[in-house]
């Protein structure tokens, strides 16, 4: 970024993401939500055009771009479809980053390369039925036996698990050490004992894959331990910090998409003899919504630039996600209202955007967890 402006290169990237979303996703977004299915063809196209490895080094086959460009991608995709936004975000920020930031060269060659060059898709297995905001409450265990770790346990709400090839899974290697007893493992999909359930029925982002993953005596080669035993919690928290930039961008995209639909609608809809865009209430309401989204976007950009510059971005990322997710919920609710009965109808996309927005306040750290992080950074506690 230069000043508050995107560079020419970033603008061209934004154009790519926008054109792709308009041409490839818009015609099928509603159907994806109705069928609760993420199309393989769309996944293949996202991979083909380099969107699954945006901020990762050319050295490993990534696009060699930056975190801000990645955020632009998630926003543009999410303007049209929130499910697509989270699919790319979880793969990029949660799965790939663990391997990129903490794995050894051999692991990067074997796993990071296909993940960032568009060959494979990844997911991140941290959350468990009994461990959500309290991620330290891991129950999944990993027992070393000879050349393998044997994993047992259950993960829930694992985005992308329905089709992922590579799973980054967190498990307890030493219960006595609390959070320092958690380790991170790379598990391949076809490992015997790893079972992915059907997708969990959800309020929103229904096209995204989000399922339970059961691990029953899953044998993971010990070379697949990321870093060393006990590093798992740190790895997970680091990944989530970056992930929040993606979710902030997703929320901004959902909100902006809703505003764009509302602006189009109010210019056409006539009541009381005029277009409803002529009423000051409509104009003022849209001005309020756009201002909030603009603010959220700048916070996302700032967090992204801080990460690109290797600054302490985690509190900025927490703030941008907290703010953007709240904005997305407010904005989409008001946009449904602006479209009135048609806003409530599934013929128009805003009700889906409103349903999609809710999860941004919950996953990758609830709003409450974000406030814990922010107040912690303020050293209030």
């Amino acid at each position: 970024m230069v000043g508050f402006n995107l560079t020419k290169e970033q603008l061209l990237q934004k154009q790519l993401f926008r054109d792709f979303a308009e041409m490839e996703i818009r015609p099928i977004a509603s159907q994806m939500d109705e069928e609760e299915k993420f199309p393989q063809e769309l996944l293949d196209k996202l991979k083909k055009y380099g969107m699954m490895g945006i901020p990762y080094d050319r050295k490993y086959g990534g696009a060699g771009s930056d975190v801000l460009t990645y955020a632009l991608c998630i926003e543009e995709l999410s303007k049209v479809d929130g499910s697509t936004g989270v699919t790319v975000s979880v793969h990029t920020s949660l799965c790939c980053s663990c391997i990129n930031d903490f794995a050894n060269e051999a692991q990067k060659e074997k796993y990071l390369r296909p993940l960032v060059n568009g060959s494979k898709v990844g997911c991140f297995g941290l959350t468990e039925p009994g461990a959500g905001t309290d991620a330290s409450g891991q129950q999944t265990t990993a027992r070393l036996e000879g050349d393998y770790y044997i994993l047992n346990g259950q993960k829930v709400f694992t985005t992308n698990s329905g089709f992922a090839d590579v799973f980054v899974v967190f498990a307890l290697t030493d219960r006595s050490k609390g959070t320092r007893g958690i380790s991170a493992f790379i598990v391949e999909r076809d490992t015997p004992g790893l079972e992915v359930s059907k997708d969990i029925p959800r309020m929103g982002i229904r096209a995204a894959s989000n399922a339970e993953v059961a691990l029953v005596d899953v044998k993971v080669p010990k070379e697949n331990l990321i870093g060393s035993e006990g590093m798992g919690y740190k790895i997970a928290m680091t990944a989530l910090a970056g992930g929040r930039i993606g979710i902030g961008a997703q929320a901004v995209g959902i909100a902006q998409g809703a505003i764009n639909e509302a602006v189009k609608y109010v210019k056409e809809r006539k009541q009381f003899g005029r277009r409803i865009s002529q009423f000051q209430n409509t104009q003022f309401k849209l001005a309020e919504l756009q201002t909030k989204v603009d603010a959220a976007r700048i916070m996302v950009w700032r967090a992204a630039v801080a990460k690109d510059n290797h600054e302490n971005y985690a509190p900025l990322a927490a703030m941008c996600k907290y703010f953007a997710s709240e904005v997305a919920n407010d904005v989409t609710r008001d946009c449904v209202q602006l479209l009135g009965g048609y806003g409530y109808s599934r013929e128009y996309p805003v009700e889906r955007m409103h349903r999609d927005a809710k999860i941004t306040e919950i996953y990758e750290g609830t709003t409450e967890a974000m406030k814990m992080i922010i107040s912690g950074a303020m050293k209030v506690n």
Partner: protein, 332 residues
């Protein structure tokens, strides 16, 4: 000194193109203004017999080049023939039809003889003072009109949009001159090889690309009645589309749905048959160039955006319209 209006007349499958006759008609008008002659150039194989028709439609003279090299349109032999004639005869103005042949040939000719060429003209006039040809044509995707002049180079050349100028009535009493010209072609002039000629087959429907659309709404009443619209569309060379109600009822494919939750179209003609004109539909077609609406209900909102609105019964009007169109084709 350059003089006379030349018209390059195309033939397709041995038949004189309609645009050729239209241009001879227009050339007649321009020539009368300038006190000059209309010369038609006829290029092809086995075409000598057609020259007379051009005189009957207004030409003073026809130059015929009848040669096997010209049996099918290929750029170089045609360019060579036309340039040879233009270089020798030095016309004031040369007109071509803006067809896929004319728009291939005219630029090549203009570049070879170094003169100005204006594309796809919809209006041609002679300026009262300068006596220059004023060539008016659409630009910017049809959003603006521009009038072009070619001051210092001759001939002033233009390709002209088919269907805009008017051919003169045939007058068998007209007299004119027919000149047969030999062009010295070399084998190397045929610098491409035509392997095969494929006659057109219908391609898949994309209503967003259609030039004309005949669209049906609730007023069509039943799926069988769409055939009535298909017949009309056939006569107009149009695509068939529909409002959401017809698609939801399964009368027609979703590919043909126009509207907010369907496709947006901007054809040159949109015929709305039995469509009420709810905002959700109008949003998908209000940019159409010409909107003609037929509906039983005088208060239907479609009439507020139609250029021509007819309060009437589509079941009676559409079939009669189709008949009238069929008839008008055989007369011309």
């Amino acid at each position: 000194m350059s003089r006379d209006i030349y018209v390059i007349v195309e033939l397709r499958d041995g038949i004189l193109s309609k645009v050729g006759l239209e241009l001879v008609g227009k050339a007649r008008e321009l020539a009368d203004n300038l006190g000059q002659d209309v010369v038609a150039i006829l290029l092809g194989l086995g075409i000598k017999g057609k020259a007379r028709i051009l005189i009957e439609h207004g030409a003073d003279k026809v130059i015929v080049v009848d040669d096997p090299m010209l049996s099918e349109y290929v750029t170089e032999p045609f360019t060579k023939a036309v340039c040879t004639i233009l270089t020798e005869k030095q016309p004031e103005i040369v007109l071509f039809g803006a067809t896929s042949i004319g728009r291939d040939l005219a630029p090549r000719v203009s570049a070879r003889i170094h003169t100005g060429l204006t594309a796809d003209c919809t209006k041609l006039e002679i300026d009262d003072d300068s006596k220059l040809l004023l060539m008016t044509r659409p630009a910017f995707g049809g959003n603006i009109m521009a009038t072009i002049i070619c001051q210092d180079f001759r001939p002033q050349m233009a390709t002209v949009r088919p269907g805009v100028m008017v051919a003169l009535e045939k007058d068998t009493s007209r007299k004119g001159e027919i000149e047969e010209l030999d062009i010295k072609f070399n084998e190397s002039d045929m610098n491409v090889k035509i392997r095969e000629v494929i006659k057109s087959t219908k391609k898949a429907v994309d209503i967003t690309e259609a030039k004309y659309i005949v669209s049906g709404g609730r007023g069509v009443g039943e799926p069988g009645k769409f055939n009535m619209l298909k017949d009309l569309a056939g006569e107009l060379g149009a695509e068939v589309a529909a409002s959401r109600v017809c698609v939801d009822s399964g009368w027609i494919d979703k590919e043909c749905q126009v509207g907010q939750t369907g496709k947006t179209v901007r054809p040159d003609l949109y015929m709305a048959c039995g469509i009420s004109g709810a905002i959700q539909h109008v949003a998908g077609m209000e940019g159409s160039e010409l909107i003609i609406a037929i509906n039983k209900n005088e208060a239907a909102p479609i009439f507020s955006i139609a250029d021509l609105g007819i309060v009437g019964d589509i079941n009676k009007i559409i079939p009669k319209l189709t008949e009238a169109l069929k008839k008008s084709k055989t007369l011309s």
